[in-house]
């Protein structure tokens, strides 16, 4: 679904997937062994849009991207989109298949994973995520959501977290009803105080645009709008007083190649 009425030849979900894919797989320089070296990026992937984005990235600009699924596969290279994180194709194409305790203890917790993808039922302006309950009373929730899954520790231990979420006033709230996964708390410095090692949410991609935390305050700021989307539309779909980057840009629309590869992936 797209909130706009233009004549784009792609859906807003396609734009989200492609924007997320583009964010992945940038090789960067890391200190290791006393030297700095380039290396492949490692991504913790959930099913749905994150898995679509990660597999799209692998097929386009980031062939070396390492996909890690919480079901226990390191380096899966599926030839089609997996139907679930338990899809046999993930185990069959992996560098290694490991137990679930090992995924969390030996691979996620020590900070071996660069990017964790998370969704959210509610997201607040500091990138805190709620996937537990809607309503203030935990014991008597208005809506009982699925809960935490792997998210709290993904949010804590991946070097960076990318959040992908469809944006409405109900999902983009000033303050989440329940902190399932910690983003930037009440602002800059809260993660350090808790001893969290990863940088937390550095990128939020919605069907309307892209947000990044302000380097000074850690508040999410609109840095890109997707083609055909106005700032006003974004503001209406945001439950807090939205800040817009002075360098606001428009997301590069999907290329033909990106769209073709994505649609091929989804069809397979």
């Amino acid at each position: 679904m797209t909130a706009t009425t233009d004549e784009r030849t792609y859906t807003s979900d396609e734009m989200m997937s492609i924007a997320a894919a583009r964010a992945l797989g940038r090789r960067r320089t890391f200190p290791r062994g006393g030297e700095t070296q380039h290396r492949e990026q490692r991504c913790f992937v959930g099913i749905g849009l994150p898995s679509t984005a990660a597999n799209l990235a692998r097929r386009t600009h980031a062939p070396d991207l390492v996909l890690i699924y919480e079901s226990g596969t390191l380096g899966s290279k599926p030839g089609r989109l997996p139907a679930s994180i338990g899809d046999g194709i993930l185990a069959e194409t992996a560098d290694a298949v490991i137990s679930v305790p090992e995924v969390f203890n030996y691979w996620l917790q020590p900070g071996r994973i660069d990017v964790g993808f998370l969704g959210a039922a509610q997201l607040d302006k500091f990138g805190n995520i709620n996937t537990t309950v809607i309503g203030e009373d935990y014991a008597h929730p208005k809506v009982r959501l699925p809960g935490a899954g792997g998210a709290p520790e993904i949010a804590a231990s991946c070097h960076e977290v990318y959040i992908v979420v469809r944006q409405t006033r109900r999902s983009f709230v000033d303050r989440v009803d329940f902190i399932t996964s910690f983003g930037h708390g009440t602002g800059k410095g809260d993660r350090e105080k808790l001893g969290l090692r990863g940088a937390g949410p550095t990128l939020v991609i919605t069907d309307l645009g892209v947000f990044r935390p302000d380097p000074e305050t850690a508040e999410l700021v609109l840095t890109e709008v997707h083609e055909g989307v106005t700032v006003e539309q974004v503001r209406e779909a945001t439950g807090w007083d939205l800040k817009v980057s002075p360098d606001l840009s428009t997301t590069t629309p999907p290329s033909e190649a990106e769209l073709a590869t994505l649609r091929e992936l989804k069809a397979a």
Binding site: T73, L108, R144, G149
Partner: protein, 272 residues
């Protein structure tokens, strides 16, 4: 040595009213046949433990077997909500359901502690989240070497753990391959254990990636072909993705669920 029993006898013997019961299998090898046998035997007041409740616990909860659920992610994967679970939490139907809620990392480590004979496990977890305020099996602990504060979670030691595996031999040795999840830990953490298998065979030919559970670490083995359906059993059958959609329509309201129970579970009563 594991005894080889029928599924009916195994559940009758190992699962009692009021027990803490873990059915494990992370997206793969979910022990559905055993879950439905528990419903069929009308067990009550169970504390159900499972990282991902999935359809298997939606069925047990809807059927009124559970008084409490210990879990970390309760959705219908790829589809949406578990309606029976939501109905129990939001509306206490068919009865109130107490919940004890963790993250995956926390649950996995609780099983590890249970399997290790330790009262707790340590992890970097839950920091800054609202979970510890509602879950008293999460506490803080201080490293005696560095002074660092970390999370501690209490061990899980179910009365009985039930898993599904591909094969066992006639001595009761169990062979599992593919995604092995937290099954070994669940079995070793439990006082009693039941492994349902696709087939009991004469010889367990080695399979790459296999995990073996020696017969003497398992209480009972029961043959239950397609016992993981609608989840999958690598080497035997694929995931029935349509069933997950179908379940959404069945579980969505109480009447359709009750009709399903009568037709697909209780009407099978007396079956082996």
């Amino acid at each position: 040595m594991a005894e080889i029993l029928s599924l009916r006898d195994a559940v009758a013997r190992l699962v009692h009213d009021g027990d803490t019961v873990a059915l494990e299998g992370f997206t793969h090898l979910i022990p559905h046949a055993a879950g439905q046998e528990i419903i069929r035997q009308r067990r009550r007041e169970l504390t159900l433990v499972r990282m991902t409740p999935d359809i298997v616990y939606d069925q047990l909860i809807g059927a009124g077997c559970a008084r409490k659920l210990i879990f970390s992610w309760g959705g219908n994967p790829g589809v949406g909500s578990l309606h029976r679970f939501r109905d129990a939490v939001q509306n206490s139907w068919p009865g109130p359901l107490e919940i004890e809620e963790h993250s995956h990392a926390g649950m996995a480590n609780r099983y590890v502690a249970g399997a290790s004979g330790l009262p707790f496990a340590v992890l970097r977890g839950y920091s800054g989240t609202d979970l510890p305020a509602h879950t008293d099996t999460i506490k803080q602990i201080t490293c005696p070497f560095t002074g660092e504060r970390l999370a501690a979670v209490s061990a899980i030691n179910p009365d009985v753990s039930i898993i599904h595996a591909q094969r066992a031999d006639r001595a009761g040795n169990v062979q599992i391959w593919g995604l092995v999840g937290v099954q070994k830990e669940a079995v070793l953490a439990a006082k009693r254990s039941l492994v349902t298998v696709e087939e009991v065979v004469d010889e367990l030919d080695p399979v790459p990636g296999q995990m073996m559970l020696p017969s003497w670490a398992v209480t009972a083995v029961a043959e239950a072909p397609r016992g993981a359906h609608p989840s999958y059993a690598q080497g035997y059958y694929d995931r029935d993705n349509e069933y997950y959609e179908y379940w959404d329509s069945i579980g969505r309201n109480r009447d359709s669920f009750q009709a399903w129970l009568d037709e697909k579970v209780f009407a099978m009563e007396g079956a082996k």
